[in-house]
Amino acid sequence: MPYLGSEDTVRELRRHLSNPNVQSDPLRYRSSILKVIRAMSQGVDVAGLFSEMVKACATVDIVQKKLVYVFLCSYATLNPELSLLVINTLRKDCQDPNPMVRSLALRNMVNLRLPSLAEYVEQPLSAGLRDRAACVRRVAVLGWAKLHNLQPASEIDAAVVNELYGLLRDPDPVVMVNCLRALEEILKEEGGMAINKPITHHLLNRLGQLDVWGQCEVLRVLQRYRPQSESELFDILSLLDASLVSPHPPVMAATLSLFLVLCPDLPAVSFAALERVRGPLLAACGSASRETRFTALCHIQLLLRSLPGLMGAHYKRFFCGYAEPAYIKQRKMQVLVELVNDDNVAMLLDELRGYCTDVNADTAQAAISAIGRIGRSYSDQCLQILTGLLGLQQEHITSAVVQTMRDLVWVCPQCSDTVCSALEGCEETLQDSQGRQALLWLLAVHGERVRSAPYTLEGFIDGVRGEASPGVKMELLTTTMRLFVCRPAETQDMLGRLLHHCIEEETDMCVRDQALLYYRLLRCGMEETRRVLGGRRSEPSLGVLIGRPAEPISQWASSFNTLEPLKQGAGETETTGRASPQHVTFDLDSDLSDTLNSGAGGFSFSPAGVQAPPLTLSLSPALSPEEFERLWTQRRAPPAEEGAEELDYVCLEERIRCPAVPHCSPQSLQAAMQLVNIQTLAFTAAHASPWRVYLYTHAQQAARSALILGQLLYAGEDEDEDEAGLSEGPSPRGREEEVKVTLKQRPRDEKALQGFLSILTAVLHTLPFNTH
């Protein structure tokens, strides 16, 4: 066919279709119709041929019929009047002896999507439900759902709904599943179809006959069923056990989802189910289809949130292949970070180092930040790798390394020496604004220890005119100010130049405002400047929390096996990666304790034993970590001095039996404490020994307020002998489960302290016990 414009094409096609010679020759007629469909697929607007095509559907040739129907369904909404003409042919076809023709006609009758035709469609649909051929029943059942979808307002006849319920017992499995789908759609307003005991048992019994799609559908619908007794529940669960380890990932996922929904109150069963699916999930991770692999990885991430130890032994299965797409590699790395432990850390880091030089810059950056995350627990090995990477002098690698170091130093201040010495000279390779901002931040905080810091800054200040990113300029201002505070002689001149430029020439208001602020601050005198700028630092003495909490399964069970987990992770990379929130606290006016205390407010708690007046715990005024440390060390009194004759101060030591505490993640502890207004300030790493937590609160009772500082100490199994002697009494087994609580209070108020202790004990006993 010669090239024709769309109008010419339509005209040409119309001429062909209406030519009586063509119409009388079935082969030529069909090839003309083919041309129409081809034109339609190529995006030519052939709507104008509607009336010709309507005529063409009266034929005995099934293929031609199908093609004409494809055409009609695409354009029916544009020609509602003409479509009325088709209905007659379609209704006639519904009487055809050939079931294929019947099902075809029935399907397309509804697919025209014309509400005006509804009245003509209902009768054939009703007849279709009782057709002898299963393929017609399949279509008819879904037809009702389509009809309802077309006119959501109009009610579907109750008799039809009943008939659909009846068809759940149809011998054809697809008819049965289609019934489920149709009923769900029709009864959407009422929350879906009724799921009672007979229906549930019927569906479960037929599960084996269904294909993958059908099984998933049934499993999903069953989520709404609530078993009437525990024994029924367990019968259902054991029936589903085989599907739980199904080799088809969708079936496995749907079954697990059902398990989690059915037994929210039986965590042991849920956890056992998670263990069961480990094998199939790992298999899905090695699937040939990368989308399936990706989906499996995303779901493994969900599972790990509740059961961090689930995949520990299989970490090698998450090593990346060379040709895998970046999104899979990044997910795998996120999983690997979760799986790190003492035994595999060397192997894992070795592997991750390999990914750092990946050709894909994003993968490389993800690998570097993954190393940074592991660095929170294994800082030496990780820093060695990170500094090694700086030697490659690759722009994007250096940038990612510097950003990772920034995040790492905040969490692990003991790394700062290594980082400081590594920073020298890397400003030459840094090009992007994020990397340079990170470098400036590091110089601001640890500037006094980086020998070349003023020279680096000078380079930045000389180039400030050409600097495009306001973020870098603002960071530069802060850094120069802070360096000026500790190294005034070297920095004074360049600070002057920088402030001058930013105030006089800068066009960005934020930068200019900040410069003005600093300028005015400097005029208030050096002492004031130092006070304002000497912001918070992370506390090496206190250690910092590591690891994520093990969440209860219910946190994610509802999003399991949907699109959500696939979408979630994308955001997660961001938070785990560059945009760690901590460095925000270094801004001028914000205070660490503010961010920690976002939930400050009054909370009243009166434990059973304590009589009125009630004891109230409150978080305000906030206490900063430094202040805490100062107060704590100031009051470090030997335990023997308990009840010493100091008027304003009391120190108390207690042992609380609480097996959960040392196994509990910092976040869940923190959350539990915050619920009763106790602020946790710092943690040692989980499973480190001895394990400590520092906390504080203000206890208010009858208008008297007292600050309570506390330390929880869990020395683990290797507690000293003499320590054990002190606690005289409890068996060694019991001792393992005890947490030593040291409390310091000012001013002294024994009653409040006892009250606080009972609250604390109560909280500790509510902690979830994580199994590993």
């Binding site: 469909i37 294929m100 999507r113 051929a133 054809d172 090695g286 989308e291 949907t562 696939l566 994308a570």
Partner: protein, 424 residues
């Protein structure tokens, strides 16, 4: 699962063919798909789900096509991907190769198939064996009044029609295992597994009842026999014809086979496999002047076996030039567009060791771009041998008419994802 519409796009994002199943998502939304894909790719956030407003695109790529499913529901992702792959599988069985041309040449059949595969966003008939009975490419020829309903659409045995006749009754059984190996640069095996499948080519009359016996360890444990080598299989997947209840109770694989070719079962064995072809490579890069590559390949399998069509693919820097090769056997060829040397050995007996040396020049101006460290990959095929040691013990064929049928068994081991990392 519910997918609102299915699209087949070419690489430029042009719609080749589409089917609107539910009508609840604007069909014009698909125009956003490719720009969205490009944008995410640039940002390095590419992912198999893309969203624009409330519409989610779930897509896969197959040769030069994108298959996209749109939905505005929070639907079950893994099911949608399975369905898209099912479409690929069905189309491939119809057109041998699924690509832009085959879609364009067969759009009638494609429309017909899309119509049968899904209705109102729900998968319907997805078994290609069944589909092939009533949607045929011969449809292009005109047959008025044809198309009797295939019994399979309603039949109890949906994968086999009645009344099949062969002069000579035979079954061919292929046991194929592919090995996936990942070896570290320092020579330690990081991960390895075997993916096996048993394929049938059935040429049997009537409705035969087949029983397959394997040296499956679980079975031998069950019956108390424990002779010779047995195999533990994981993730066993069967064709729908296999009676799973019987397999679960007594590990018998009994079934009525589909006619013609089909995959009866697949399995995975997660075990430490000794890499069958071991590669030691030394790649020395002298900046600005040359690269020297020395590769030693060793066949770590039985002397009686022979690996055929062995291909060792060794990566070279992208700016390498003037290749020179020396091999103790086989032929080496430089493939510049893939940046690799392909060393081909037609037949590689077990226990033997071969060497290849290659020499490349490097330009004096160094390529500053960072190159990844592509691994050495190996392709091979070893007939009459399975790594796992799986064996077909027997195949019993019973048919009402009582004919004698011959089963033929063939074993083959081949390379899957076979990677050995290099030290450069």
């Amino acid at each position: 699962m519910s997918s609102s519409a299915i699209f087949v796009l070419d690489l430029e994002g042009e719609v080749l063919i589409c089917r609107n199943y539910k009508g609840d998502v604007d069909m014009a939304e698909i125009d956003r798909f490719l720009p969205l894909l490009m944008q995410h790719e640039e940002e390095g956030l590419l992912c198999p789900v893309l969203s624009h407003g409330k519409v989610h695109f779930m897509w896969i790529k197959h040769s030069n096509l994108y298959l996209v499913s749109t939905t505005n529901k929070n639907s079950n992702a893994s099911l949608v991907y399975s369905f898209l792959y099912k479409i690929v599988e069905v189309f491939t069985e119809y057109f041998k190769e699924l690509e832009e041309e085959s879609i364009q040449d067969n759009f009638v059949v494609v429309y017909e198939l899309l119509d049968e595969l899904m209705d109102f966003g729900f998968p319907q008939t997805t078994d290609s064996k069944i589909l092939q009975e009533y949607i045929t490419q011969e449809g292009a020829k005109l047959e008025v009044g044809k198309s009797k309903v295939p019994t399979t659409v309603t039949n109890a045995v949906s994968w086999r029609s009645e009344g099949i006749k062969y002069k000579k009754n035979e079954v061919f059984i292929d046991v194929i295992e592919s090995i996936n190996v990942l070896v570290n640069a320092n020579g330690s095996v990081m991960s390895s597994d075997i993916v096996g499948s048993i394929k049938l080519k059935t040429m049997l009359s009537g409705m035969p009842e087949l029983r397959l016996g394997l040296n499956d360890r679980v079975l031998f444990g069950l019956t108390g026999r424990d002779k010779g080598k047995t195999v533990v299989m994981e993730d066993v997947k069967f064709h729908q014809c296999v009676r799973l209840s019987r397999f679960d109770s007594d590990r018998t694989i009994s079934f009525i086979p589909p006619d013609g070719e089909s995959e009866l079962m697949s399995y995975r064995i997660n075990t430490h496999v000794k890499p069958l072809i071991w590669i030691e490579s030394v790649i020395e890069k002298f900046s600005h002047s040359r690269v020297e590559i020395m590769v030693k390949a060793k066949g770590q399998f039985k002397k009686q076996s022979v690996a055929n069509n062995v291909e060792v693919r060794v990566p070279v820097p992208s700016d390498a030039d003037s290749p020179k090769f020396k091999t103790s056997t086989g032929q080496a060829k430089y493939v510049p567009e893939k940046n690799m040397v392909v060393w081909t050995i037609k037949s590689f007996p077990g226990g033997k060791e071969f060497l290849m040396r290659a020499h490349f020049g490097l330009p004096s101006v160094e390529n500053n771009e960072l190159e990844g460290k592509p691994p050495v990959t190996v392709k091979f095929e070893i007939p009459y041998f399975t790594v796992s040691g799986i064996q077909v013990r027997y195949m019993k064929i019973i048919e009402k008419s009582g004919y004698q049928a011959l089963p033929w068994v063939r074993y083959i081991t081949q390379s899957g994802d076979y990677q050995l990392r290099t030290n450069v």
